[in-house]
Amino acid sequence: MAPGAAKRTGHRAGDIAWVRRLLIGLGLVLTLLFLAAPVVVVLVQALRAGIAAYLGNLLTPDTLHAIWLTVLTAIIVVPVNLVFGIAAAWAVTRFDFPGRRLLVTLIELPFSVSPIVAGVIYLFLYGAQGLLGPWLMAHDLRIMFSIPAIILVTLFVTSPFVARELIALMQVQTGEDEEAARSLGASGWQMFWRVTLPNIRWALLYGAILCSARSIGEFGAVSVVSGNVRGQTNTLPLQVELLFNDYNALGAFAAASVLTLIGLVTLLLKALLEQFAPDRRGRSA
């Protein structure tokens, strides 16, 4: 049922049949052309030459390596940002201290930074021209144009996702459950595992889904710091661009189809969570 349907008593503005049909029709046509067509075109183009050719283009060593690197990045980035999100949300919603609002702004800051700028700031920190570049070189450490740089920049880009979901939820919870657990003699960690974590589990899952989707799909920031070495530092989105620039359309669409399916699964999980988990509503980046 529509969220507004319960309140719909009698006639409301826009309920006239032809207005309603016109607006719904226009909305559906635009959505079909603008949002659905891009997904369809990727899948159609990927399968254009048949399943065998599709698999052949997908299962090349470079593309498989790109898939592996993308998964590796997500496997490292998502848990780290889950821990960060919990710590950040706990600190800013359960305590009041000077600079608390500033801290919330700082937590959300990466959302406002262009992916290209995110890549550039890491280049000027760890690159040869950067702040720590000379020191890293003197110690024979290489971060830029290698996997650590990809992971670091992805941590930056995706750090606010979990934190924002948890802050929004924990601001509404008053902390009474935790107070009760404490007064019954629970230790800090007992309280956390048995009271706090179960209370925030849906928001945590929601944040993790958004965080992994972004970490898998990040393009601009990663393309600045990766160095684009074929079969070494190419993530799947970069592989799509590389194959496209090589005029290997079938390869590019095969790689893109994997990312598209991941995107569709993300949407499905999100919709399921919003439908079945209590207190979940469509909040987006």
């Binding site: 529509a2 969220p3 006639h11 409301r12 503005a13 826009g14 309920d15 607006l23 719904i24 226009l26 909305g27 635009l30 959505t31 603008f34 949002l35 659905a36 067509a37 997904v39 075109v41 990727v42 821990v83 919990i86 710590a87 600190a91 359960r94 305590f95 801290l103 702004t105 700082l106 937590i107 990466p110 406002s112 930074v113 262009s114 290209i116 700028v117 550039v120 700031i121 000027f124 021209q129 950067g130 702040l131 670091l152 930056f156 750090s159 799909g217 393009f219 601009g220 989105p237 661009e241 590019a252 893109a256 990312l259 598209t260 995107g263 993300t266 949407l267 999100k270 469509g282 987006s284």
Partner: protein, 268 residues
């Protein structure tokens, strides 16, 4: 409540390493250039052209997102129709689909022999490898912002105000223009501001479709990337600072708008 030291300590350390230190490295790099050189770099001819392309196309994209986003939010909240849930889920697609895939898909659709391009180009409307392509890519990646900021406000809208207006003799159009629109407007503007801010920084979707010709279809994020590939680090740093500054201005504007909107509707 326990855990202040641990949670705040971890949060501050993490933010210092992941967010503050890299940002400081960029600012430091820019300061090393000195004000005169910085000014020369950010006001170079090609840089100015890139700002113009970025700002005009972002404005065009925001206009489209504003209208299409409002329409989508309206039909999703006000009407029941087959496929409503699917459309509601699809709204988030631009956030779930990697920008590189969006760029590849839009380029394919609007290319000369593509599904849309084969219809539009004979009419003289060139989208792929033209400025319009930039606007299309920007609009795709930022349309959810408008829908998702307007939608909750439309849902919370009080039917009583509408009924009162109707009893005073107002027609549908007057109710929409005089009662509904004023209440939705702050959220709509906030959503448009978010969409505009996102458009200014977009890169992934644009590089595929834009054609990337200097002075014509080169956005600032792409010029920054090109400067890096040319090993022109001073140029890249100065452009990145301009983009960062623009992001701060937009962030301040949107948070101000949102605080106004929250006061307006009384939502937490």
């Amino acid at each position: 409540m326990p855990g202040l030291g641990l949670s705040l300590g971890f949060t501050l350390t993490y933010l210092a390493v992941i967010v503050v230190l890299p940002l400081a490295a960029l600012v430091l790099k820019a300061l090393q250039l000195g004000p005169a050189e910085l000014w020369t770099l950010v006001t170079g001819e090609r840089a100015l052209a890139s700002y113009r392309v970025t700002l005009t196309m972002a404005a065009a994209a925001t206009l489209f997102c504003g209208l299409y986003g409002l329409l989508l939010a309206w039909i999703l909240v006000r009407y029941e129709f087959p496929g409503r849930r699917l459309v509601d889920a699809l709204v988030d697609l631009p956030f779930a689909l990697p920008t590189a895939v969006a760029g590849l898909a839009l380029t394919t659709l609007f290319a000369k022999n593509g599904w849309f391009g084969s219809v539009l180009e004979p009419l003289g409307l060139k989208v792929a490898y033209a400025p319009a392509g930039i606007a299309v890519a920007m609009a795709f990646t930022s349309v959810p912002f408008v829908v998702r900021t307007v939608q909750p406000v439309l849902e919370e809208l009080d039917a009583e105000a509408e009924e009162a207006a109707r009893m005073l003799g107002a027609g549908d159009l007057a109710i929409f223009g005089r009662v509904i629109l004023p209440m939705v407007l702050p959220a709509w503007i906030a959503g448009c501001a978010l969409a505009f801010a996102r458009s200014l920084g977009e890169f992934g979707a644009i590089v595929f479709i834009a054609g990337n010709l200097p002075f014509e279809t080169e956005v600032t994020s792409l010029l920054t990337f090109i400067r890096l590939e040319e090993f022109d680090y001073a140029g890249a740093a100065s452009l990145a600072c301009v983009m960062l500054l623009a992001a701060f201005v937009m962030l301040t504007a949107t948070s101000w708008l949102q605080s106004r909107w929250l006061r307006f509707t009384g939502n937490p």
